[in-house]
Structure formats: C-alpha cells, structure tokens
C-alpha cells in the first residue's frame, strides 16, 4: 500500500505506471497525434496501434461507422510495420517518461515472433501486447484467440523470445473466455488485456450495402461496456495474473467499475475520438473517487465487487 493517500501509482504485469490509465491500441496512434492536448508524461502507459512484421495497407473504405452509442471499425491493421515503427515512431516516444506498450499482430506465428524479436532488441519498449484476434492464415482465417491450444502455442512461443512484460489481448467473441484466459496464463503471459472489439455489422438501407467495405467490423464504445465488464469479471475469477480492462470507458466512473470488476489497470479507446483529453479526465475521475471514498490505492478496489 502507498503512503501517499491518493497516489495512483501501480505496478501491473511488470510494468510500473504513474497511474492505472493507458490508451487503447489503435485509438491513440503513436502518441504524437494528441500532443496538443495531452502531456504524454501524465499517462499511465501508451499502447500503440497494432504493429505487424511488414507494413499493411489496411482495408478499403468505408472503414468506420457509428452505432448508438458506439462505433464499428474495420481498419484492417493499416500500420507502418515493425521496422518503420522502430525507426520513425519510437524515437519520439522515447522523449517521454511513460511506458510504451507495443500491440502486435500477425497472420502466422512466425510473424509474431519476428516482430517480438525486433521489439525486444529495440530501446524504449516497456511491454508487448499480443493481439490474438488477428485472422490466423494457417487455420483458414479463424483467429488464434478463439482456440485455447492455438493461444497457448502462440503465447508460449512469443514468451520464449522476450523477457519484456507480456500482455495477451483477448477477444470477446468466444463462448467461454476463461478457457482462453487460462491458456494464455499457462503459457506464461504476465497479464491480460480484456477486451478487444465485439464483431458487429451495420447496413445502409438506402443502398442495401454494408456500412463497412469489410462487411463486418469491430464494435467499440459505451455500447459494449456491459459485455466488457462481464468478461473482466469472469476472467478475474479464473486467473491469477493482472487484467487491463477496456471497452467503452469514457469517464473515471467507468474506469472505477472496471477496477471493481477485477481490472488492475484500464485502457481508454474510442473515448479519445470524442474527447481528446479523455485519458486525463479518466485519471482525474479515478483520483476524485479514491479521495471521496477515502481509499489509499487502486489495489483496494481491484476485484472488490460485493456479490
């Protein structure tokens, strides 16, 4: 427990953070984009957009649409590739005193390993977040993250390649998330990010076309918060490693609900698009709550749901 009565500092999955609020992958770019609004040093951590072994150009347009109240996206992991990231994006982030967590993805196991090795060798990476929702080409495009054995194999192989703290980001689109969570835990991940987007779809009834060129896309934002909270709580009851909770967090109060459900830290995603200061507002809100309820640290909240 902390001596400073309202310190927000946490140490989660081997990552030391000034506060438990990070930005969610894909919703905060590489950090520089929000520099007019946010002093990056104030963030718990930055999770950058998913990185792959080679640059990906992403999906055709349209890629996003709105649903009440949430959004669907099918960006298709457009990114600069791991070399581009290390060369062009990481140097900027090294200027700040904030842990940089790199979200990675691939269509084959080897790609994940290649990216991991390069990040492990790079300077300024605090942790790796393994996005296991990518389509797995070896299994006909089915994602790694829906199968416990594939998940184990992937996490285990990545684990062997790096001593960096490892987070595995779970998909909500499964029958029983605890099976996948336990597989990742058994394979040696330090923590779990819960959740990625829900698979959804929207239709333009005037043209009878899907609103996204990709037909389906990932649903994020307030609409998914109840599902995300449920999954965090289920995972919390199934594993003994820390959880980064996310899904529809817009305010400090939302974050508090995730802590109570079992998250040790949270990530702010879609909210960044609505409010460029969202992570800071969330931090303030968490702070206010701790003061109001006279709590010394986040730890007292984690998993404190009274059932």
């Amino acid at each position: 427990m902390n001596s400073n009565p309202t310190s927000l500092e946490v140490h989660v999955a081997g990552i030391r953070m000034k506060n438990p609020v990070m930005t969610a992958s894909g919703t905060f770019g590489y950090g520089s984009e929000y520099a007019d609004f946010i002093d990056l040093n104030q963030l718990g951590a930055i999770v950058v957009k998913g990185i792959t072994s080679v640059p990906w150009s992403g999906n055709p347009m349209p890629r996003i649409t709105e649903t009440p109240p949430g959004m669907l996206n099918a960006i298709g992991l457009q990114n600069v590739g791991v070399d581009g990231f290390i060369e062009k994006k990481l140097p900027y982030l090294r200027n700040f005193d904030v842990p940089v967590i790199v979200n990675i993805c691939g269509e084959r196991l080897e790609e994940y390993l290649e990216v991991t090795e390069k990040l492990d060798a790079a300077d300024g990476v605090a942790a790796i977040e393994l996005n296991i929702s990518c389509p797995n080409l070896h299994c006909g495009g089915m994602s790694f993250g829906v199968d416990p054995e594939l998940t184990y194999e992937l996490v285990n192989s990545v684990r062997e390649k790096t001593a960096l703290p490892l987070l595995v980001k779970l998909s909500p689109n499964v029958t029983d998330i605890t099976v996948i969570a336990r597989a990742a835990e058994a394979a040696g991940t330090d923590g779990l990010s819960v959740i990625n987007t829900l698979l959804g779809m929207a239709i333009d009834i005037k043209t009878r076309r899907p609103m996204l060129a990709n037909i389906t896309g990932g649903l994020s934002g307030p609409a998914i918060k109840p599902v995300a909270l449920r999954l965090v709580w289920q995972v919390y009851n199934a594993v003994n490693i820390p959880i980064i909770g996310m899904g529809g967090i817009m305010t400090g109060d939302d974050a508090i609900a995730f802590f109570i459900a079992g998250a040790s830290a949270v990530a702010v995603g879609t909210a960044n698009f609505v409010n460029p200061r969202a992570p800071l507002d969330v931090i303030d809100g968490v702070h206010t709550y701790l003061k109001q309820y006279k709590l010394d640290s986040i730890k007292e909240l984690v998993g404190s749901l009274q059932t």
Partner: protein, 279 residues
C-alpha cells in the same frame, strides 16, 4: 498532400456557446460561435470536429462521434460553419439554439496550395461543398487573383453563398439540377464550356479547386486531366477521431512508384492533388 512546409496551427478543443444557428437555404444552416484560438490560426480548407451532444452530456450522447465541418468564415474571434442536414447529427445540430454549448476541436487538416502566379482560380462547389471553398475564395480575392466560381445545387431553394461570393468579386456561374436558376444541368458542363471558350488561352496558370459529391469530383478530375489543369480536391470522408489515429477516414492515393497508399483525409488532407486520388 504536401502543400506547405509551414507547421499547421496548434489544435484546441473549446467549449463555446452558439452565437447563432440559422437556416440559410432549404436544408442548410449557418452556425456561428466564438473560438478565438481556432479563428486565429485557421487556414482555407481547414475544418473543425464538432461534438453534437444533446443536453451537453458528454459521455452519454447517443451521437457518440463528432462531426467534421469546414471552417466557412472567420470574423475576428468568431468562426462559422455552413452545413446541410443529411442525417441524425446534422438534424440535432439544426435544433440547437443560441447559447447552447458546443464542443469544437480545431483547426484541423491541411490547406489549399495557392501558387504565386495563379491565374485564374476556378472554384467548383457542389451542394454544401461550396462551404469548403469560401475561406479560399476570400483569400484569393484579397490577393487580387481572378476567381471564377462555379456552384451546383439541386434547385434555387438550396443555392448557397452566391451573393457573398459575388460581393467579393468572384465571377459566378450557377448550375441547378432542375434549371430553376442558372444552367440546367451539371456544373461540369459549365466547366467544359469555360475551358473551351476562345479566350481560354488567357488561363495562363489556372488551378481548379473543387469540393462536393464524389461523382462531381470524379467528373471534375476527368475534365481537368483532359485540359491538363492542376486540380485540388477537398475530400469529405466519414471521420472517427479527426486526429490521425483511427485510420477511418482514409482515401486511396497513388504513389510515385505506381502503387498506392491509404492516406488520412483528416491529416494528409482534406486537400489532395486530384491527379493522385485513386477512385
């Protein structure tokens, strides 16, 4: 589009009361608010990202995402936007009253490139697209550039900004779908006419600036190619963040090596070189 090496102005997110929000044509409204920090830096073609929250409740808005609109005019500390009602967001927006709070993020995006020896500028606006060209027109006329204005509209009742443009000395040409005013047909037909005119050789260093429906932009691009006239398009894709991070607003841009790249309308745009856009 690499139009300028100058750093773009710093961005601000301001909570500001609406000064006025009035209908200016059928389905079209003009909204003004005081945004000194945005007004100060705004460049022609830049836009704002507006949070249309009902009752000012940020986190619970059923219209989750913001909506992008070009900065229509800048007067002192005030900026204005001219918008068309096309869906729920603009519908709700049109009901807001003076005094209601609005969240305005900007100025965003790049700006139009204005060559030094430009003569003449031809601006082509379809529907609310003309809103994206007003600040440009003002800047052009201030520098004394001869400016032709071609505006397209469904009908007389929806015609926008013609008087304002005339007042600042833009030579106006109008096309309506129903012929209720001006040329009965496409604005691109007027464009071709102008370029075919005997004195078209007077167009020593012309540039076309266009904004409007995709169909119009493609037609303009085609004509511009035929007549070899450099053209800049202001694109209006659906946006998520408008900050360059969600990659939701991209358009396909031709690369020098013959390949293509998805570029962000909110960051590399909204102004693109027409020749580089892959439709």
């Amino acid at each position: 589009m690499q139009t300028s090496t100058a750093a773009f102005p710093k961005k601000f997110d301001l909570l500001t009361p609406i000064i006025s929000n009035e209908q200016v044509a059928q389905d079209h409204y003009l909204l003004r608010c005081a945004c000194p920090e945005i007004a100060r830096g705004a460049l022609p073609g830049q836009f704002i990202h507006v949070l249309i929250s009902q009752a000012g409740v940020l986190q619970a808005a059923s219209l989750l995402l913001r909506r992008p609109f070009t900065i229509f005019t800048v007067e002192g500390e005030q900026i204005s936007m001219l918008y068309q009602i096309i869906g729920e967001g603009t519908e709700v927006l049109s009901h807001l009253k003076p005094g209601d709070p609005l969240r305005v993020l900007g100025p965003l995006g790049n700006t139009f490139h204005i060559p030094l020896d430009l003569h003449p500028a031809i601006i082509v606006g379809g529907g609310a697209g003309i809103a994206s060209l007003m600040l440009l027109a003002i800047a052009l006329r201030k520098s004394g550039v001869r400016t032709l204005g071609l505006v397209a509209s469904m009908n007389r009742a929806r015609l926008l900004s013609v008087a304002e443009l005339k007042r600042i000395g833009v030579e106006m040409h109008i096309a309506t779908d129903d012929g209720s005013v001006g040329h009965h047909g496409f604005v691109t037909e007027i464009l071709t006419q102008i370029l075919e005119q005997p004195h078209a050789h007077e167009l020593s260093q012309p540039m076309i600036y266009a904004c409007g429906p995709d169909g119009m932009l493609r037609a303009v691009t085609k004509i511009a190619q035929d007549y070899r006239i450099p053209t800049q398009l202001a694109m209006e894709n659906r946006m998520g963040c408008a900050m360059g991070v969600c990659l939701g607003c991209v358009c396909k841009v031709r690369m020098p090596d013959g390949g293509f790249e998805y570029q962000r309308v909110c960051t590399e745009g909204p102004v693109f070189n027409a020749a580089e856009i892959v439709w």
